[in-house]
């Protein structure tokens, strides 16, 4: 009696949790290091700052974005990004400003250009190459196996032989 009640309560509590969790309206990217005093009041601007920060590298860290690093440099950059946003810069303008100051090293997603051509097109290139290779090998096999098939037709098993073979193969299941 009480057991089933307990289960019911457990389920309803967790369903409520599930709904609550699905209701939470979050658009922020993870931020391990953002300090309360940095956050912009306007949530839309703060969201922009977060999204931009996720693309920016903390210059002294190992691959961490400025969202996640608690190094002083990262804090300075977070404040700088917010300052530019409040001044009315567009996202692209903020990025341009930072690249002009710190170089492209600051971008965790490098810009598309001659110097990153290989990086950006390699996924597509590899995929196309892989699929072409498969197509080539399969078509070659088809040809060669046709030749083999016409040569060996005389030796292939008859239907009754095939059946017997299958039976033999399946029966020694019990041998082990």
């Amino acid at each position: 009696m009480s057991g089933s009640k307990k289960i019911l309560r457990f389920i309803s509590a967790h369903m409520a949790l599930l709904v609550a969790l699905l209701m939470v309206t979050i658009g922020f990217l993870s931020a391990e290091a953002v300090e309360p005093d940095e956050v912009i009041e306007d949530p839309r601007l703060e969201l922009r700052a977060r999204n931009l920060s996720a693309e920016l590298r903390c210059l002294v860290c190992q691959n961490q974005s400025i969202n996640d690093s608690n190094a002083p440099v990262a804090r300075d950059l977070r404040l700088l990004v917010r300052e530019r946003i409040i001044l009315g810069d567009s996202d692209a303008a903020v990025i341009d400003y930072l690249v002009a100051r710190y170089g492209e090293f600051i971008l965790l997603r490098p810009r598309f250009g001659w110097h990153t051509l290989l990086l950006w097109i390699s996924p597509l290139l590899l995929l196309v190459f892989g699929l072409l290779l498969v197509g080539f090998v399969v078509s070659k096999q088809k040809k060669s196996s046709k030749n083999v098939a016409s040569n060996t037709r005389a030796h292939s098993l008859s239907a009754s032989e095939q059946q017997r073979l299958e039976r033999l193969l399946s029966s020694d299941r019990h041998l082990f």
């Binding site: 300090e35 170089g103 110097h115 892989g130």
Partner: protein
């Protein structure tokens, strides 16, 4: 004199490795059975010697023998016992010795359990395996010897890096090495196949269980690493595309591809050339991973075992083994004849698609990881970053088609499949998936617009895996009893596949949910304050100074309430270690299946409060549970009868079920 026993055993193991490398293969060339039979005892003996060597080092750590330089540098007498133990592999020298020990344990396992291998095959495999052991024994003795003494002996040690003083250190590196090094057997088998000119279905069946073992360990090792990085602050969370994380993901991806291609080779005698190449590449990527971690040429959070000088030695090892085996492959692969004709839409075809996507994504990660290094070298000092936003985009777009195709594959028949029929069988799964998209999109108003689709991809894969199992046992079409009977009679590898695929779906669910729907609350709190996150109420009760065995810590007390009942008290803390006066931050986590409440105690404010970061990470546990379930699937598959009997025969069980 204790430590000299270990030193002596290590040098003896080096000598044995030369014998094991040369004599059995000479026997193969001369068809001398007695020489070939030397391989197995040599492998076991080599393992025994390295085991003694490793135990000696462990003993030196436990007894805090600071006359040994390695112990002095990495241990301290006040360290708790578990960290004295795991500290053995928390540094470069000790971890390389563990690496070598695991390598030789795999050789010994083949020597003991590979009874039904043809003797010449076994001798060749163990010979190749021993050549790797020889290279690494040489490396350890000449560049990374853990048995070097110092005199006069220091009073106490320097201590282990505080961030490594965690129970996960006991598991994460050994499991990873078991995975990395386990792939050495796939490599040795591939080289042996090329040398012996023996590439048939039987070969694939010998290789698959060993590859599967390595894959299970690597999956667990990566998962534990991810979990550790999640609760330890400063490591970027459960995954952030650090070069060293990438280095472990690359062999995992190609190893996964190898498991699937070896299946085609075993069942249909096709994809032979490719499978052998993949076996070589997988271990080469493991070596590359070792090189990237040890050399420190890429900046990474794993920078505790770095020495550029040693990097060059490992680079040489990679050049010799990868280059040598690829050269052998180039010479011999022409003579391998592939047969097994099949249509593009077939089980084989789906497994090839799996291989193309996994290998391409592996290649993409390789290029992305090394691109900054190459760019800096070529441009003469210009620097570039390739980070999470790039990898998320590219890897995500390659994984999406893989996940969409995943449930369809097992429903296609060998040789020639029917994609329409397969889709019809997945109708139910398709409906659930659609429903999930609509539900998630309706309930969660904001967040990335693609998130509901990603979330439902997880459902699609999970439900597809369940439906496959139901289909195999005729669930619903026959009595429940009958279905259960059939389930028991199903080949274990088939259950294993379904379970592993189910795990993939769980993981996708966790990744998407926690990335897209994370809730956060960053604020300044004074004791007595309360706040909310995702329906939970948190009360900041107090802070307290507490002393650990070798650190002082400032501990926060947070009571977590869910619908007015207290569910947990969390204790996030900041630790200062006595020996190095380094600080670490430990999160307080209330874990549940639906999501974690994750609290971090930040800096003290001038106004008597603390910066507090509170997150709710929905379904984050599913990431690691998914990995566990995947490993479980591997384990069940490993227990399949045809691996145990090992005899090279076509699998009839599978055929029977399929033809029905």
């Amino acid at each position: 004199m204790g430590i000299e026993i270990g030193h002596f055993a290590l040098i003896s193991a080096l000598i044995i490795s030369v014998v094991q490398m040369v004599v059995p293969y000479y026997g193969v060339l001369k068809s001398d059975l007695r020489l070939m039979e030397l391989a197995a005892p040599a492998a076991v003996f080599q393992f025994a010697l390295l085991f003694i060597s490793f135990l000696t080092l462990v003993y030196a750590y436990i007894t805090s023998d600071f006359t040994v330089e390695n112990v002095f540098r990495n241990s301290h007498s006040t360290k708790p016992l578990i960290y004295k133990l795991s500290g053995v592999w928390g540094n470069h020298e000790g971890s390389m010795l563990l690496w070598l020990l695991i390598l030789s344990s795999f050789s010994a396992a083949v020597a003991v359990y590979g009874r039904n291998l043809p003797i010449s095959m076994k001798a060749t495999v163990l010979s190749v395996q021993s050549s790797i052991a020889f290279a690494f024994a040489l490396f350890i003795i000449f560049t990374s010897n853990p048995f070097v003494r110092i005199s006069p002996a220091p009073y106490d040690g320097k201590g282990l890096n505080p961030i490594l003083q965690d129970p996960a250190l006991a598991l994460h590196p050994p499991l990873l090495y078991l995975g990395y090094v386990g792939f050495s057997l796939a490599f040795s088998f591939a080289v042996a196949a090329l040398l012996e000119k023996r590439t048939d279905a039987a070969w694939a069946r010998w290789v698959r269980p060993w590859t599967l073992i390595a894959w299970i360990f690597l999956t667990l090792g990566i998962a534990i690493g991810s979990w550790w990085a999640y609760y330890e602050l400063g490591w970027g969370g459960w995954w952030f595309w650090d070069p060293v994380e990438n280095a472990s993901l690359m062999p995992w991806l190609s190893g996964t591809a190898l498991l699937h291609s070896a299946l085609v080779m075993e069942k249909r005698a096709a994809l032979k050339v490719w499978t052998i190449l993949l076996a070589i590449l997988t271990f080469s990527l493991s070596l590359l991973g070792t090189f990237l971690v040890r050399s420190g040429i890429l900046s990474s959070v794993h920078a505790f075992a770095v020495d550029p000088e040693r990097g060059i030695f490992i680079l040489l090892i990679i050049i010799v083994f990868t280059g040598g085996s690829l050269a052998l492959f180039a010479i011999r692969s022409g003579s391998i004849s592939d047969n097994g004709l099949f249509a593009p839409i077939s089980r084989e075809g789906s497994l090839i698609l799996n291989n193309v996507l996994l290998t391409v994504s592996c290649g993409v990660i390789l290029i992305g990881t090394l691109y900054p290094l190459a760019y800096e070298t070529i441009s003469g000092g210009d620097k570039l970053s390739v980070g999470a936003p790039y990898f998320d985009l590219v890897f995500g777009s390659l994984m999406a088609p893989l996940l969409i195709a995943l449930p369809l594959g097992p429903f296609l028949t060998w040789k020639r499949g029917d994609v329409i029929a397969a889709s019809q069988r997945l109708l139910f799964t398709g409906l659930i998936t659609m429903l999930t998209i609509v539900m998630v999109a309706a309930l969660v108003q904001r967040g990335p617009w693609l998130a509901p689709v990603g979330f439902s991809l997880g459902i699609w894969v999970m439900s597809g895996a369940v439906q496959e199992l139901f289909f195999r046992v005729n669930m619903g079409k026959t009595s429940l009893n009958n279905s259960l009977k059939r389930l028991m009679g199903l080949p274990r590898s088939m259950c294993g596949t379904s379970i592993a695929h189910f795990g993939v779906g769980l993981m996708v669910l966790g990744i998407v949910a926690t990335s897209a729907y994370r809730a956060e609350n960053i604020l300044i709190m004074k004791t007595g304050d309360q706040t909310k996150v995702a329906g939970h109420r948190l009360v900041f009760r107090k802070v307290q100074q507490q002393n650990g065995p070798n650190y002082n810590s400032l501990v926060g007390y947070f009571d977590v309430y869910w619908s007015d009942s207290k569910v947990a008290t969390l204790n996030p803390s900041k630790r200062t270690y006595n020996v190095s006066s380094q600080t670490t931050t430990e999160a307080g986590i209330h874990a549940s299946l639906f999501g974690d409440v994750y609290v971090v105690l930040g800096d003290a404010q001038k106004t008597n409060g603390f910066t507090v970061r509170i997150y709710f990470n929905p379904f984050v546990r599913f990431i690691w549970i998914g990995a566990l379930v995947m490993s479980l699937g591997g384990l069940i598959s490993l227990s399949d009868r045809r691996f145990r009997i090992g005899a090279p025969q076509r699998s009839r069980n599978t055929k029977l079920v399929l033809s029905e």
